[in-house]
């Protein structure tokens, strides 16, 4: 355990999401990852053992570790995104465990929005289902850089290589239509532990890494955009004390690129240009800041800047427009209203928008445009044209997940009704 205390300065953070159809064994897989990396504590294990016994389950049900709400445990299903945490000496992991039921697709989108990697479970007995396609498409749409297909329940198909190869081939064909560049396939049994943390003794025909090895070693430093300089301003910091009488700092989280003291910058929407005078992170003055750091910067010129503005590099500006075309995931029971008005949140900018046109609805199972009525209902995804009250400064989502994303809010209920990826 010694390396955990001294090695923490060298660990990084991987966020991943798990998706699968009902009964694909997601919760069991997560329970297995936590259990085999010794992240499950005695009192949690005792509680799960007691609960399993109460339900009359023969084996200890590892899914009870993740299903936190009473209704979930009673019905044996996962309702909401559950966040789980574990660490190895090399990495800290955040799991967004999302339910497989079709009516809860919004949770998968939520979990996917911040993930570096998606694990998609496929039942070896059942192969690709509509949900598999849906989850893969969402992973691609949400710009998850790495996707790992785990062909699970290999123990129930006698660890048969041909079955694995057949499913892998089908997934390969299907995935060629997706925008994911790093796709892996692993045959596993979450229940028995094969190829999850420890290498399978029965599937000697599989030479690739275990899931755990992959999670620990996959390269993620390149997942952030360090090219296009984007700094959405959250707050203007004015201490108005004698010591910091003239300090006027712009606080935000770098959404792209690297900012250095002395850099020329361009301010949107005013169009003024200035130079970075100082950058500080808390009390420390620093020479540079990069995505995804939170920092504050001051400029050499007195320019009017407020929340919702964006400081960017001079040579490479984002698009600026009131007409924004998005892929929209609809979350609400009330369908999207063509011509309807919604509040919109993009970065730190609040505005309102009107739905000008629903261009088409996606058919998730074919990854093609659906025929007929393009109305977006709950869990539908479609291409939509929005007109905003003020111009937004944005990049395409596939270029930058933070300057390319937005949410829509129903102004009557204040609910978040949709997530949009700018195309």
């Amino acid at each position: 355990m010694k390396e955990e205390t001294s090695g923490y300065l060298d660990m990084d953070l991987l966020r991943f999401t798990t998706a699968g159809s009902v009964d694909d064994g997601k919760s069991t897989l997560i329970g297995r990852l936590l259990y085999d990396t010794k992240q499950i504590f005695e009192d949690q294990m005792e509680a799960v053992q007691q609960a399993s016994a109460k339900r009359g389950n023969g084996e200890v049900d590892l899914s009870l570790l993740t299903d936190g709400l009473r209704a979930e445990r009673e019905q044996g299903i996962t309702i909401d995104v559950a966040y789980r945490y574990f660490a190895t000496p090399r990495r800290k992991f955040i799991i967004a465990d999302t339910p497989g039921h079709i009516q809860y697709t919004r949770n998968m989108v939520t979990g996917a929005s911040t993930a570096n990697l998606a694990i998609i479970l496929v039942d070896a007995r059942r192969g690709i289902l509509e949900q598999t396609r849906r989850h893969s498409f969402i992973a691609s749409l949400l710009g998850i850089p790495h996707v790992v297909f785990c062909i699970n329940k290999m123990d129930l198909v006698d660890y048969d290589q041909a079955t694995f190869e057949r499913i892998k081939r089908e997934l390969d064909d299907f995935s060629s239509r997706l925008e994911v560049h790093d796709i892996r396939f692993i045959p596993i049994s979450a229940l028995k532990g094969d190829n999850v943390v420890t290498r399978s003794k029965v599937m000697d025909w599989y030479q690739g890494p275990t899931l755990m090895y992959l999670l620990e070693s996959i390269h993620i430093a390149g997942d952030h955009n360090h090219v296009d300089r984007r700094f959405p301003v959250q707050q203007v910091i004015r201490p108005m004390t004698t010591e910091y009488h003239d300090y006027r700092g712009f606080a935000g989280r770098v959404a792209g690129g690297v900012f250095r003291v002395g850099d020329k910058v361009h301010v949107l929407p005013s169009g003024f240009e200035s130079t970075i005078k100082s950058i500080n992170i808390g009390e420390h003055d620093v020479e540079e800041c990069f995505a995804p750091q939170s920092a504050s910067m001051t400029l050499t010129d007195e320019i009017d800047i407020s929340r919702g503005d964006m400081i960017v590099g001079t040579n490479n500006l984002p698009e600026t427009s009131q007409d924004v075309e998005v892929m929209l995931c609809w979350f609400n029971e009330r369908p999207l209203q063509a011509g309807g008005k919604y509040a919109i949140k993009h970065n730190t900018r609040d505005a309102r928008c009107m739905v000008k046109e629903v261009m088409y609805r996606m058919d998730i199972s074919t990854l093609r445009k659906a025929d007929g009525d393009p109305t977006l209902k709950m869990n539908d995804i479609g291409r939509v044209m929005l007109r905003t009250t003020v111009p937004l400064h944005f990049d395409k989502y596939q270029r930058n997940r933070y300057t390319g994303s937005l949410i829509l809010i129903d102004e009557a209920t204040n609910e978040t009704v949709a997530a949009g990826m700018i195309v």
């Binding site: 993740t66 936190g68 559950a82 989108v109 707050q235 750091q293 939170s294 204040n414």
Partner: protein, 301 residues
């Protein structure tokens, strides 16, 4: 070639600073729930970083059960003085005296559940529209489902099955009059992250987190500090022991751990090798499988 790689602690720190700034921007009177425990201390430290060189733009609210560890209160007052923070106190004793709640009786009597009423009353009294808490998703399985910006209806209730989806780092803090929000800037931190960060940033914490000699007694396998707030059963005999606390809550429900760890490094090593969760020493969570969920729905932290 320069490496633009953040360690997990620095990435978590950046995320939390961003959340705290969103809270400040989206609410009129956000207030930091401050118990003097390590999680609220880390939240305050992050807030100082987020708004430096300006002052932290939040009041601090302590929901005081009256059953405090003296050391936590001393620490709280010291911190308030050092940073010129504005401290608000909601008193459970006052809620009892005015008949808003009724004190539990018996050996397992605790003021933990009563806090919810005092908290909600205080939020109303001080017109708080967002209460910032140090809750973490790794603490408990109902907390694992909590949003960073968590909506509460006009009764202060949490509806876990009907939460707003929360995507990327966009937080929807819109609400109707009378409703409020809870915000959890260190949602994604674990107990280990908190300790490592305290060490990394050299953040002062109350001394009862470190091993010290104290009079304790044992109940249901847990060591409790002996105090006037606890009613001992005849067979429970107090004795002296070297202990420390992993969490600081109400004295009547916070257990001590038998530990020689007297430095942050030793605590981190202990946390790394320990086989029970942090809240395993909390009697308030042991009441039922869904104890936390039930209290949270009513408006608990």
């Amino acid at each position: 070639m320069h490496s633009y790689r953040l360690t997990h602690l620095k990435e978590l720190e950046s995320e939390s600073m961003h959340i705290l700034r969103e809270v400040a921007a989206q609410f009129d009177n956000p207030t930091l729930l401050f118990s003097g425990g390590k999680d609220s201390i880390v939240c305050f430290h992050l807030a100082r970083k987020a708004f430096h060189p300006a002052k932290v733009p939040f009041n601090l609210l302590h929901v005081d059960t009256g059953h405090n560890f003296e050391e936590a209160i001393t620490f709280r007052d010291m911190l308030v003085k050092e940073y010129g923070a504005n401290l608000l106190v909601g008193s459970v004793q006052e809620s009892i005296d005015t008949g808003r709640v009724q004190e539990e009786t018996g050996f397992y009597a605790s003021r933990n559940k009563l806090q919810t009423v005092t908290l909600l009353d205080s939020l109303e009294k001080f017109k708080v529209d967002c209460a910032i808490g140090g809750g973490r998703r790794d603490e408990e399985k109902a907390r694992a489902k909590e949003r960073v910006f968590s909506h509460r209806d006009e009764f202060g209730q949490w509806d876990p099955k009907n939460q707003r989806p929360e995507l990327w780092n966009i937080y929807n803090g819109r609400k109707r009059p009378g409703e409020h929000f809870r915000a959890f800037p260190i949602s994604n931190w674990t107990e280990m992250d908190v300790w490592q960060y305290i060490l990394l940033e050299n953040i002062p914490i109350p001394n009862i987190y470190f091993s010290h000699e104290r009079e304790v007694f044992e109940r249901d396998g847990v060591l409790y500090a002996n105090s006037s707030f606890m009613r001992l059963k005849p067979e429970e005999k107090p004795f002296m022991k070297r202990v420390r606390f992993r969490t600081i809550g109400d004295m009547s429900c916070t257990g001590a751990v038998d530990s020689p760890a007297s430095t942050l490094e030793e605590i981190i090593e202990e946390v790394a090798s320990t086989r029970t969760t942090e809240r395993g020493t909390r009697m308030d969570d042991k009441r039922s499988e869904a104890a936390m969920e039930d209290r949270k729905k009513e408006g608990y932290f």
